[in-house]
């Protein structure tokens, strides 16, 4: 039952691959096929559809656009915007910009990682939270800042940051409880 590498996350990722409907991206591909230099735009649009870029999707893009798989994969892994793994329901972007750094973002990262029991870049087992970082969220006067699904929070300290996470967690569980 257990994968020899003990990596549960990979397991779940591969599990979802079978449900991927490759036809969803036909329109994007047809629109850009044959257009010189459009690979990044295609990857962006396709990621908008699936939320990330699963391997079968990258293969399909290379096939349909007539590009080498290495070029597609190479480009997808070069840019930080592209994700090869699915993200949690709440994407936490902790700002690592200079203003946030000097205002203590590192301590917040320590506290959040401890609270969520994951390392930066990972997703919690329940699929609720992904902890990630951003270079600068552009609200430096609110430093230190984190953004959760597009909403900025700041100025933070370790305590405030954990409280925000706990509030979301509690709200999610309340919702789930109500449904039953």
């Amino acid at each position: 039952m257990n994968c020899c590498c003990q990596n549960k996350k990979t397991e779940t990722n591969q599990g979802t691959h079978t449900d991927i409907d490759l036809r969803l991206m036909d329109e994007v591909i047809n629109h850009h096929r044959g257009e010189k230099g459009s690979l990044i735009t295609v990857l962006q649009k396709v990621q908008d559809i699936y939320g990330y870029l699963p391997m079968p999707v990258l293969k399909e893009i290379s096939l349909k656009m007539g590009l080498k798989p290495a070029q597609v994969y190479g480009t997808a892994t070069f840019y930080t915007q592209f994700r090869l793994k699915p993200v949690g329901k709440y994407l936490i972007l902790l700002c690592q910009g200079t203003a946030c750094h000097v205002n203590g973002s590192e301590r917040i990262e320590t506290a959040l990682a401890e609270e969520l029991k994951i390392k930066p870049g990972e997703t919690t087992d329940d699929g609720l939270f992904t902890l990630d970082s951003a270079a600068c969220l552009g609200c430096c006067s609110l430093a230190p800042v984190m953004m959760i699904n597009g909403q900025a929070y700041g100025p933070l300290n370790s305590e405030k940051a954990t409280r925000i996470i706990r509030d979301i967690y509690a709200a999610e569980h309340l919702k789930a409880g109500e449904k039953i």
């Binding site: 010189k36 230099g37 459009s38 690979l39 990044i40 735009t41 990857l43 962006q44 070029q71 190479g74 480009t75 070069f78 840019y79 930080t80 915007q81 592209f82 690592q96 910009g97 200079t98 203003a99 946030c100 750094h101 000097v102 205002n103 203590g104 590192e106 301590r107 320590t110 506290a111 401890e114 609270e115 951003a134 270079a135 600068c136 969220l137 552009g138 609200c139 430096c140 006067s141 609110l142 430093a143 800042v145 900025a152 700041g154 300290n157 370790s158 305590e159 405030k160 954990t162």
Partner: protein
């Protein structure tokens, strides 16, 4: 009352400006019937967001800060009752601009926070597209170029290359088609000048690009904008559509026979793509890897064709220069650095935000007069300029004027305009480590010096910060820094060692303290500090016990608490939550 304006730049939205806007939209008929409500971009006073302006019938403008829907109602009622301004929330006014606004000279930011960025009419009311009409209808491309040359405008993207020269070399190339590219990749962490201009005044950038197209003989412009700026992209799209509808873009602009169009290409998050040759590779859909110059993009750029690449702020200056004349621009600033520069003030500063000042103003005036000094009245330690390729300028150089030469002579770099203020709690070894961590991750990997050199430099800095520094580390850093600087292919690698070299130059004693005494003088480096509780001051309130994420604090209520150093992860939560009146958590 004529108009109510709400600041809805990214910073305004982050601070809660949308709530004020939605409230005003819903309640306008009751609150202030007949008064226009307008959204605007960023005026630069990010520390006071959300901002609201009241424009009275006599054209006076009153700016209020920290506004909530309730406060907005109070302010509007007050004004409507004819009692003048509501002092308790007022932060500035047109007759009495505050210390933040008064010393500024706004050319690039002339319309930011004034006009509705989505309205072409608003831009035109401020004189927008007059410069374009003047250029197309009454000047030859050579005359426009001459005016830009007289102005002395230098590129605002970092290197400060004369703009006329770049335009001219693209103009001299014969191959067609040619391209105008606007570099809106703004990758420096802690810098947001370009974002603000794009969000708040997109037409000024379009106008500059069209004029550039006219000079160099290009029919196509591309804005390479980072995807992390969704509002900037949206406002640019709106502006481009409006310009097309009004014959300001597309075929036969203003009936002059000149045709030019602009499209947006979104970046995908790679710092190195701000470098012009990497940007071109990215525009072509490839990995953003720089290449050797020459040939310069002006000779062989996008798809091998002549391409002039300029920064957002550079373009935003162009229309002003043509409207007011090159010599008016050249009259501002210093001998070799003309005009103004926009800076993003952030870090440990009281009043952070965007400021635009004439070149040559001293760092002291910007940080202390405009920025109001250091947060919580801490002590100034250094200011970081130029982002990851820049450096830290210490206190004894605060009289340095901001112009290209003077900043370069300190070992830092003008860069695109990020100005991060540091106080005594900043560890300078950690600052160097922080920037190397950034450049190491962002190195594209093409050249060995940058890819491996930045990694090795980072490893040494990490070990020093972890208290594992050895004798000889400083010398090794210096030697390797010079190698990476001289042998890297592009500006990323060439600039990467600067944060190390400037901190070594001005704060060598901190490196020595880390290495020799295993001590971080700023009490920042996690591995070199311990959190303890002062038995005298602790009142046993239990807050830290409850909040500690790893439960390493013990102690009953009303008894002195104790931190288990074995378990402590040094997250600082106890320090954050210990009530200020006790201040019992000590960092040593």
């Amino acid at each position: 009352m004529k108009k109510i304006r709400v600041g809805l730049g990214s910073c305004g939205i982050a601070a809660g400006g949308l709530k004020v806007w939605e409230f005003l939209q819903a309640e306008q008929a009751n609150l202030a019937p007949g008064v226009e409500i307008q959204k605007t971009g960023c005026i630069g006073m990010c520390h006071h967001e959300p901002l609201l302006d009241i424009l009275e019938d006599d054209e006076r403008v009153y700016t209020y800060g920290g506004v909530t829907p309730e406060k907005a109602q109070e302010i509007i009622d007050w004004h409507l009752s004819g009692q003048g301004s509501l002092e308790k929330y007022l932060v500035s006014s047109s007759q009495q601009p505050n210390d933040y606004i008064k010393p500024q000279l706004r050319i690039v930011l002339r319309n930011c926070g004034v006009i509705d960025p989505e309205s072409l009419d608003d831009y035109r009311r401020q004189g927008g597209y007059k410069a374009l009409a003047k250029a197309l209808k009454s000047m030859s491309p050579d005359e426009v170029l001459a005016e830009i040359k007289i102005s002395g405008l230098r590129g605002r993207g970092g290197a400060g290359f004369p703009t006329w020269f770049k335009w001219n070399s693209t103009r001299m190339e014969e191959s067609q088609p040619k391209y105008v590219v606007c570099n809106a990749d703004e990758g420096d962490p802690g810098a947001f000048m370009d974002r603000s201009v794009l969000e708040s005044d997109p037409h000024s950038v379009l106008e500059g690009m069209i004029i550039a197209g006219y000079v160099i003989g290009a029919a196509n412009g591309i804005i390479y904008c980072r995807a992390e700026y969704p509002l900037a992209i949206k406002n640019l799209q709106t502006a481009i559509a409006a310009a097309r509808e009004n014959a300001l873009l597309g075929e036969n602009i203003m009936d002059t026979g000149f045709s030019f169009d602009i499209r947006i290409k979104q970046g995908a998050g790679a710092f190195v793509c701000g470098e012009e040759t990497a940007l071109i590779a990215s525009l072509e859909g490839e990995r953003g890897m720089p290449r050797l110059k020459p040939p310069f993009p002006s000779q062989r750029g996008y798809w091998g064709q002549p391409t002039s690449i300029n920064n957002v702020e550079t373009f935003a200056n162009v229309a002003w220069i043509l409207e007011h004349g090159g010599s008016a621009f050249a009259a501002i600033g210093t001998e070799a650095s003309k005009g103004t520069k926009v800076f993003a003030l952030a870090g440990k500063i009281k009043k952070g935000g965007l400021v635009e000042v004439p070149m040559g103003m001293s760092l002291k005036e910007i940080i202390f007069t405009i920025g109001g000094g250091i947060k919580d009245d801490h002590e100034f330690k250094a200011v970081q300029m130029g982002g990851p390729s820049g450096g830290c300028i210490p206190g004894h150089l605060l009289d340095t004027p901001v112009d290209y030469q003077s900043i370069t002579s300190t070992g830092a770099f003008m860069g695109s305009g990020g100005m991060i203020v540091l106080d005594e709690t900043a560890c300078m070894v950690d600052m160097a480590r922080y920037f190397l961590d950034f450049t190491q991750k962002e190195s594209c990997g093409k050249c060995v010096q940058c890819r491996i050199g930045s990694k090795r430099l980072l490893e040494i800095l990490e070990s020093i910060c972890a208290g594992e520094g050895k004798a000889g580390d400083i010398e090794l850093l210096e030697e390797m820094a010079l190698q990476v600087q001289s042998a890297s292919l592009c500006g990323l690698g060439q600039g990467a060692p600067n944060p190390i070299l400037t901190t070594l130059r001005y704060f060598r004693d901190e490196y020595e303290a880390h290495i020799n005494d295993k001590n971080c003088p700023a009490k920042h480096c996690k591995h070199l500090i311990t959190y303890t509780i002062d038995a005298e001051r602790c009142k046993g309130c239990g807050i830290c016990v409850r909040k500690c994420p790893v439960n390493c604090i013990t102690g009953a209520k009303k008894e002195v608490h104790h931190i288990d150093q074995e378990k402590c992860i040094k997250c600082g939560t106890c320090l954050d939550v210990c009530p200020g009146k006790f201040a019992a958590v000590l960092v040593n």
